[in-house]
Amino acid sequence: MFNEKTMELLVSSFPKILEFGLKVTLPLAATAFVLSTILGVLVAMVQYAKTPILSQFCRFYIWIIRGTPLLVQLMVAFYGLPLLGIHSNPFVMAVIVFTINEGAYSAETMRAAMEAVPAGQLEAGYCVGMNYMQIMWHIILPQAFRTAFPSLFNALISMVKDTSLASSITVVEMFTRTKQIAGQSYNYFPLYIEVAFIYLIFCTVLTFLQKKGEEFLGSYGIRK
């Protein structure tokens, strides 16, 4: 099966597949990850503060998003948004869906991490005259972010792979590109192995970055 022709195909297709990985898959995942983290932090803050109506709205959002498949959410957005008169290109739509989807999960991760910061530090902040937002910014969020970092990075690694689902709404990302090349040559199996390998490389690099990130964030003198 891995004859000379196949080897040639693998070599010639590698840069073509990688190109879409770097141009579409990674930017999609990175953008959605950054936006979803911001969304997650905001939703977590609303819940941490137990803001009356907003808090219930956030619970509802998390309930809906966690209770439905990502693929279905992509489809709903793809066919539903145009009905509401919202037309946008598939990439942007994918960014939006991935952001809203991941936001629900990172909101829970962040909320748990915020609640893990001892409440006494919040009280101590008040007692030195700081207001709620100052305490959030200087005390609670930095510690929560440090705690949540490995989980959030987990989500990023998942998302890099889940971007392949964007192919279902016509986004030509790394996996779709692989399918196209495979379709031209009728030689599917080796190319799917090849794309799997590229995903693996991406995630290996991310794992390395996670380690570096954790070192950078430090541990406030614990276990030094």
């Binding site: 910061v117 001892p118 006494g120 530090q121 009280e123 101590a124 902040g125 008040y126 007692c127 030195v128 005259g129 700081m130 207001n131 100052q134 200087h138 005390i139 930095p142 510690q143 440090r146 406030y220 003198g221 614990i222 030094k224």
Partner: protein
């Protein structure tokens, strides 16, 4: 004129009446020790005065301004807290900040003091509590006594008119307790106004100007320290002092 006056403060948790009309008067320079068995409401009293708990009723007079403790606006709470310090039983240092950052934060963030000015001030108070050499240590790298001394420095840095101590040595062993009490003794000597909820009877006897004995949510007996210990009037007080061995 009293610096701080608390009149008829009430607080209950659920159906449990923790404070049943406690009053308190603090003059400038007073060191008031609040004694009493566990569950007497001492800590709740302190937390209500600094709005960490919302009192159900009562009046607070701080620097000649009257406040209804059950209806404090956010603005008045913030205003009063600018002039008070609080030291917790379990220190509550900011875990993500070094000792000096713990001290400067109340200045730079809450009071908009310039960074270099805040750092200078912070170094001064850290030295005062004997923690000058530990400015760049994180709380996790310090002993309990050192953490509590940093917490005292944090309270001192904002030049409070009064500092509340909530059982500041209860989580410490005798040696660490001694080093924290030494710092508090120096503060008292310098004329800092303090309310100290404590189980340290000898500290109360030596350092405080007034002693207040609480039980079951009321003040059983209060008076000048010497009088309180030499000649207690109430049966309950006598029993407490006998049980604590003094």
């Amino acid at each position: 004129m009293a610096l701080l006056e608390v009149n008829n403060i009430h607080k209950s948790f659920g159906g449990n009446n923790v404070l049943k009309g406690v009053s308190l008067k603090v003059e400038k320079g007073d060191v008031i020790s609040v004694l009493g068995p566990s569950g007497s409401g001492k800590t709740t009293l302190l937390r209500c005065i600094n709005f960490l708990e919302k009192a159900d009723g009562g009046e607070l007079v701080f620097e000649d301004k009257k406040y209804d403790l059950s209806r404090m606006s956010r603005a008045s709470i913030a205003e009063i807290r600018m002039h008070t310090g609080f030291v917790f039983q379990n220190y509550n240092l900011f875990a993500n900040k070094t000792a000096i950052q713990n001290v400067t934060l109340g200045l730079t963030s809450a009071r908009r003091v310039a960074k270099d000015k805040a750092a200078k001030k912070a170094m001064g108070v850290l030295k005062k509590v004997g923690m000058g050499d530990y400015a760049d240590y994180y709380p996790s790298q310090l002993s309990g006594g050192q953490q509590q001394r940093v917490a005292i420095a944090r309270a001192l840095a904002t030049d409070p008119k009064i500092i509340y101590f909530d059982e500041p040595t209860s989580a410490l062993d005798p040696q660490l307790t001694a080093e924290v009490l030494e710092v508090m003794r120096n503060l008292a000597r310098e004329g800092m106004t303090m309310i100290v909820v404590t189980h340290e009877i000898s500290f109360a006897r030596e350092v405080s100007t007034k002693v207040m004995f609480m039980a079951d949510g009321v003040v059983v007996e209060e008076g000048p320290a010497a009088e309180f210990f030499e000649n207690p009037q109430m049966e309950r007080t006598k029993e407490f002092l006998r049980l604590t061995g003094k």
